[in-house]
């Protein structure tokens, strides 16, 4: 008769004790299941919502942090601080990109320019007023004329684009540019199919683009500097961007039309912009020799400073938080990674509060369970001291004695927890929903406007998130409760067993310890 048989006989023949223990485990199990159910549902709702969001992270200046810092400075220091406004550099961004989580990268240099040897698309009947093609206005001197820019160059420093991955841009003919072409400042372009059709352009043709308008004020310092770039068309793409109602004003500006967006290597624009801005630098340095800004070569234009959008598409929405956390320490001061978290965290607040309370309840119950079960076991063990003494006097090993006691309690616990899984799953659903409703009704709402850039981020609402909240007892919870239960049983057996079995059998049998 091994310890397992003895345990079975003990449970089946001492029924009232077994029923009492089963009932205790049933009560504890119900509380833990409800707590874990709510906690899991909250986390799951966040996880499912996060999974629906595009795993996009942007790299930005942390304006709020900078503003807070500046406010704490003296007026003189503040002036100095604003002169040194934090700048995002491509060099810093490149370090972030070097991560296992990052899949596609946009380091964009976007520049509005002028069509050269081709005609840009112009919306014939814009919904929102007249077409703005040429707008003349005075700048500094009467003889200079401002001409509205009519195309947009979108340059990426990486050989793929998030928009291509999303299907927003589809390359129909030819190909996209390569990293080698980016690195060698190649003058290659992919133009929109409607622009190509209206100008009879095809792969292999050349187009010219002017970065600076004729007779513009910039001509004052440009001298003979050539600002026209000739691009070879290597691909034709469809731009699936649709201007919605809110953006209808853009139809008046040809440069904002999706048809006039030309995809080029960022370096092809940056190279020219450095030349133009260096000419301006030299011009103003000479004009204002006492201005300290122009005396400091560190302020000279560099390719890095023309990039305006830094976006990373990660391999999994669930890696977003980890990536942001992992990268936080390496970010330069007053810069941040934005994963559209502000909105997400705001919506998740009621779930977080519930999850926190549910976790606290679970821990309180577990700690109490250890104490209660240990006390019940200790009391039960007191009545079984004599039995333990008998077994030890027969030479039964302490391990087998503990194994028998553990098996008895474990079987009882499994029965109690199994009943708790049935009853707890019924209760958890109702209680979980009631707690969420209460939490939503009592969570302070504010009217702060949360900006998010829908170019890359996915729009989410609190309703979306709450619709994912569903309390159910899943296999993980069942596994956890059994595991937790076995842990409680083990602890509550080991402590009283040790208290008794540290003495020799004679002392246990004669109760003289």
């Amino acid at each position: 008769m091994n310890f397992f048989n003895r345990a079975i006989k003990n449970i089946s023949r001492l029924k009232s004790k077994s029923v009492l223990l089963i009932f205790t485990f049933l009560l504890i199990g119900n509380l833990v299941i409800i707590g874990l159910g709510i906690s899991y549902a909250s986390e799951n709702a966040k996880k499912l919502t996060r999974q629906k969001m595009k795993p996009v992270v942007t790299y930005e200046v942390d304006y709020v942090a900078f503003q807070d810092w500046v406010e704490g400075l003296t007026p003189e220091e503040q002036e100095q601080a604003w002169n040194e406004y934090p700048q995002i550099t491509k060099a810093d961004f490149d370090k972030l990109v070097d991560s296992e989580y990052v899949e596609i990268v946009n380091a964009l240099l976007t520049y509005e320019a002028y069509a050269g040897n081709f005609t840009p698309i112009i919306k014939e009947n814009p919904d929102d007023g007249d077409i703005i093609v040429y707008e003349e206005r005075e700048i500094a001197k009467d003889e200079y004329v401002y001409v509205e820019r009519n195309i947009k160059l979108i340059g990426n420093a990486y050989e793929n684009m998030i928009e291509i991955n999303d299907g927003k841009y589809v390359v129909n003919q030819g190909r996209f540019y390569t990293q080698a072409e980016i690195d060698s400042n190649a003058k290659v372009a992919i133009i929109e199919e409607r622009l190509a059709a209206s100008n009879n352009l095809t792969v292999g043709d050349y187009i010219t683009v002017d970065l600076i308008g004729e007779n513009s004020y910039e001509s004052e310092y440009l001298g003979d500097l050539e600002t026209t770039i000739e691009y070879e068309i290597i691909g034709i793409y469809t731009n699936n961007t649709v201007l919605n109602e809110e953006d209808s004003w853009m139809e008046r500006y040809p440069a904002y039309l999706p048809e006039n967006a030309i995809l080029v290597p960022s370096t092809s624009i940056a190279e020219m912009l450095v030349a133009v801005n260096t000419a301006a630098w030299d011009y103003y340095k000479e004009m204002w020799p006492d201005e300290p800004y122009y005396q400091d070569d560190a302020n000279m234009p560099s390719e890095d400073s023309f990039y305006n959008t830094f976006v990373m598409l990660l391999n999994d929405p669930l890696n977003v938080e980890r990536f942001v956390e992992d990268s936080a320490d390496s970010l330069p001061r007053f810069t941040k990674l934005n994963a559209n978290d502000e909105l997400f965290q705001k919506f998740a607040k009621p779930l977080d509060t519930m999850s926190l309370f549910a976790s606290i309840i679970v821990w309180i119950v577990v700690i109490n369970a250890v104490v209660i079960i240990s006390l019940v076991t200790a009391l039960t063990m007191k009545t079984r001291e004599h039995e333990i003494g008998i077994l030890l006097s027969m030479g039964v090993s302490k391990f087998k004695v503990v194994s028998q006691l553990f098996t008895e309690l474990a079987i009882v616990a499994v029965i109690g927890f199994s009943l708790a899984v049935l009853s707890g799953s019924m209760m958890a659903k109702g209680i979980g929903q009631a707690v969420l409703d209460y939490q939503l009704a009592n969570t302070e709402t504010d009217d702060d406007y949360y900006y998010y850039d829908d170019t890359y981020f996915t729009e989410i609402t609190q309703e979306d998130m709450m619709s994912e909240y569903e309390v159910s007892v899943n296999p993980v919870i069942i596994g956890e409760i059994y595991l937790m239960g076995m842990g409680v049983v083990l602890v509550s057996i080991l402590i009283p067993s040790y208290m008794i079995m540290r003495f020799n059998p004679k002392k246990i049998l004669t109760n003289t310890y």
């Binding site: 091994n2 039995e387 027969m394 020799n504 002392k507």
Partner: protein
């Protein structure tokens, strides 16, 4: 068979050290029936506990067939070399009589027949416990029957040394006689060495050797 060498035992009582066994030396022969007598509080039960491996002496050694029982491992010694019969029977109350016998059989490392249940029934029957009673829970048996079960359990694990501590202390005179016969028979029929601690002169008169424990020393009577 069993040798005591300079066995000394003392305990602290009210802050004072009280020695109850002092340098006891004795050798028990195989296949004999020993009784240990002595006044109350003389240390008979303590001596039995030490030679049964239930307690340890303060100093000195106990040898079983030349081996130090401490080195054998006291639990192993109790499991494989000896059987103990207590005054209070000390049977597991949530088991039947036959299950108590099976328990001893299953725990020992000694060779035990595979048909344990049948062997247990047969053993109990030898001690007057028929099958219908063998299947009863322990507390449904009389005191005499429980002691018979306890004796059967003591020899069930195929050991050759049986200890008993006041085995008839809770029994009436008639039953006491029957139990003593069983013990006597253990030496003859089963070739066991039996060492019984008792106050009973009836028991001691039937033994091969009578030992007397008094003033911390053990002597032949």
């Amino acid at each position: 068979m069993l040798k005591l060498e300079n066995v000394t035992y003392s305990y602290i009582d009210g802050g004072n050290k009280r020695t109850i066994l002092d340098n006891i030396n004795y050798e028990f022969e195989a296949g004999k029936f020993y009784t240990i007598l002595g006044p109350s509080g003389s240390g008979k039960t303590t001596l039995l506990s030490i030679i049964a491996g239930l307690d340890k002496p303060e100093s000195g050694k106990v040898y079983y067939k030349g081996e130090d029982i401490d080195k054998l491992g006291l639990a192993s010694y109790r499991r494989n070399k000896i059987g103990i019969v207590f005054q209070q029977f000390n049977l597991l109350t949530y088991l039947t009589a036959v299950e108590n016998i099976e328990l001893a059989m299953s725990e020992t490392d000694n060779e035990i027949p595979k048909n344990m249940r049948e062997v247990a029934y047969a053993l109990l029957e030898k001690f007057g416990i028929v099958k219908s009673k063998a299947d009863r829970m322990i507390n449904k048996l009389s005191g005499g029957e429980q002691q018979r079960v306890a004796i059967a359990r003591a020899i069930a694990s195929n050991v050759d040394l049986i200890f008993a501590d006041e085995p008839t202390g809770n029994l009436d005179t008639e039953t006491e006689g029957e139990i003593i016969k069983i013990f006597k028979n253990l030496t003859k029929e089963f070739n066991k060495t039996v060492i019984v601690v008792t106050h009973s002169t009836i028991v001691s008169e039937l033994s091969d050797y009578r030992l007397y424990l008094n003033n911390r020393t053990l002597s032949d009577m």
